[in-house]
């Protein structure tokens, strides 16, 4: 089968190639998905550039990407939740990475039936960004009337998180650039802050939650805008001690600055490491079918142009998700 593979760490155009590879085989708990669409995310670009080579080393060549939608064409002997012919979507686990291909084998725990009211392309755009947003906002227990600041509202994670928080009845502040203000408003955000002309720190006061999707200074700044006892949840900032232990870093300590900020505000800080989860995708399926959340797609590329799709991703200017149509 045809697959887009990472051949080495380096610049996108030099490190990706279409190769003919063998069709994956299923283990007892896997389903084999005939891929209809895949989506790419910033992490896929970072993997190619080698930014994660110490944390998540890959062997070469490796088929790229994690997000997928398609049809179950084969299943392992221990799979009971899926049948041949089921239309599904997934964020495949690290060890099964490789969705820019004709088939992928995925452990069934990481798979869900796809929402019935959207296309394969739209379904493929959801898993990684949707799971990241859902797992972060579920962790903080976002609820009605909570005030939340979601950074980067026009990104894949931000645009999903805005809709999720609104569906839970929260008041949503979000930041974005001038060009994106209008369409981000349409996602339902109550106050869209144009970071080019406004200082969010003077607008957001006493937030219950800050969802940090940017890292850097933004993580520490979150404590300036949360209320006493508020929560900061990050997907890019420093690890918290509990998460670090999960990764085997038993001696890890939260950076002093963050520790002090937490103490001063009696606040909590949590780093969320998105994990593949079919049940969570099932929750997303329901919310999509009830139109509480809509997929936001920037552009759909054919498989033959998937390297160009990565180049587009690397510009960081996509409004929503970049999808590759395969089947």
């Amino acid at each position: 089968m045809k697959a887009l593979q990472i051949t080495k760490y380096g610049e996108i155009k030099d490190s990706l190639a279409f190769n003919e590879v063998s069709k994956p085989t299923v283990q007892a708990r896997d389903v084999l998905i005939e891929i209809k669409a895949a989506a790419i995310n910033p992490i896929d670009k970072s993997i190619i550039l080698g930014n994660f080579q110490s944390m998540m080393p890959i062997s070469f060549p490796s088929t790229s990407a994690y997000d997928v939608s398609g049809v179950v064409v084969e299943k392992g002997s221990e799979v009971n939740d899926f049948e041949i012919g089921d239309l599904v979507y997934s964020r495949v686990p690290q060890e099964q990475m490789g969705t820019i291909a004709e088939y992928v084998a995925v452990i069934s725990d990481a798979v869900s039936k796809k929402p019935g009211n959207i296309s394969f392309e739209e379904a493929a755009s959801l898993p990684l960004a949707g799971l990241t947003a859902l797992q972060s906002l579920e962790y903080v227990g976002i609820k009605e009337n909570d005030k939340i600041l979601i950074h980067a509202g026009s990104g894949g994670v931000g645009s999903f998180a805005i809709q999720y928080a609104k569906a839970k009845g929260a008041y949503v502040y979000t930041t974005t650039s001038t060009d994106n203000v209008e369409w981000v408003k349409e996602l339902g955000a109550d106050r869209v802050i144009d970071y080019k002309t406004e200082d969010y720190k003077t607008i957001v006061k006493d937030a219950d939650v800050v969802f940090d999707t940017l890292g850097g200074n933004y993580t520490a700044e979150a404590f300036e805008v949360i209320k006493k006892g508020g929560k900061v949840v990050s997907v890019v900032g420093s690890l918290d001690e509990e998460t670090a232990k999960m990764f085997g870093m038993a001696d890890y300590k939260l950076p002093e600055e963050l520790k002090t900020l937490c103490e001063d505000k009696e606040a909590s800080y949590k780093f969320i490491f998105m994990h593949p989860n079919g049940a969570h995708l099932g929750e997303i399926k329901s919310m999509i079918e009830d139109e509480k959340i809509k997929p936001i797609i920037d552009k759909v590329y054919p498989l033959s142009e998937s390297i160009e799709a990565f180049v587009h991703l690397a510009t960081g200017r996509a409004k929503g998700k970049i999808v590759i149509k395969i089947g």
């Binding site: 012919g85 239309l87 392309e121 079918e289």
Partner: protein, 191 residues
């Protein structure tokens, strides 16, 4: 089962032997919510008579989106008749939207009634006529009625189904978007 026999006997006079055979080929089943009775792409040899609950048949377009063809509530029959009569694989999926009870028949065995008990034929013909009528009406309604009128008809034809079906099930049955369905509901609520 008794109710179905009564229905049959309200149209024809089925002999005792015919009734016994009819009962012998019927399988009463409890089907929990989410059960798939017919799956697109697979062989079909069954038809279902609904005794309780709500079912739906739908097709999937090439983009992967579902479109509802029919709902079935108490006393309705449901299957993929194209597949059965053309001996092709299913183009429809039939799923239970609620915990339901159905009486399952093997289509060939049910057709066998016609040879073994010719008095059964008018019942079968009546079913077929009603099925054709209902399909023709559905096409005409789609061509002639406004979305709001089609929604009214849906409410009349499938009482309570709105409670069980998701909005996109109903919207695709009516051939409209979910946004349009919400708009129609809001307008009706205002009246």
């Amino acid at each position: 089962m008794e109710e179905l026999i009564k229905k049959v006997n309200s149209i024809i006079d089925l002999s005792k032997e015919g009734e016994a055979y009819f009962v012998s080929i019927a399988r009463e089943k409890a089907t929990p919510k989410g059960t798939i009775l017919i799956r697109e792409g697979q062989a079909v040899n069954k038809v279902f008579y609904v005794t309780s609950g709500c079912l739906r048949s739908y097709c999937i377009d090439k983009n992967g989106k579902e479109h509802t063809l029919q709902f079935a509530i108490k006393n309705w029959w449901i299957s993929d008749y194209i597949a059965i009569h053309s001996d092709e694989y299913a183009t429809l999926t039939v799923e239970c939207l609620t915990d339901s009870s159905v009486i399952e028949f093997n289509a060939k065995e049910l057709n066998g009634m016609l040879t073994l008990f010719p008095e059964y034929e008018p019942f079968q013909r009546n079913l077929l006529e009603r099925h054709v009528l209902s399909l023709n009406k559905r096409i005409l309604n789609q061509l002639q009625l406004t979305a709001s009128e089609r929604y009214d008809l849906f409410l009349e034809q499938y009482p309570d189904t709105e409670q069980y079906a998701r909005n996109y099930h109903i919207a695709t049955y009516l051939g409209i978007t979910q946004e349009s369905l919400s708009r129609i509901r809001v307008e009706k609520a205002k009246k």
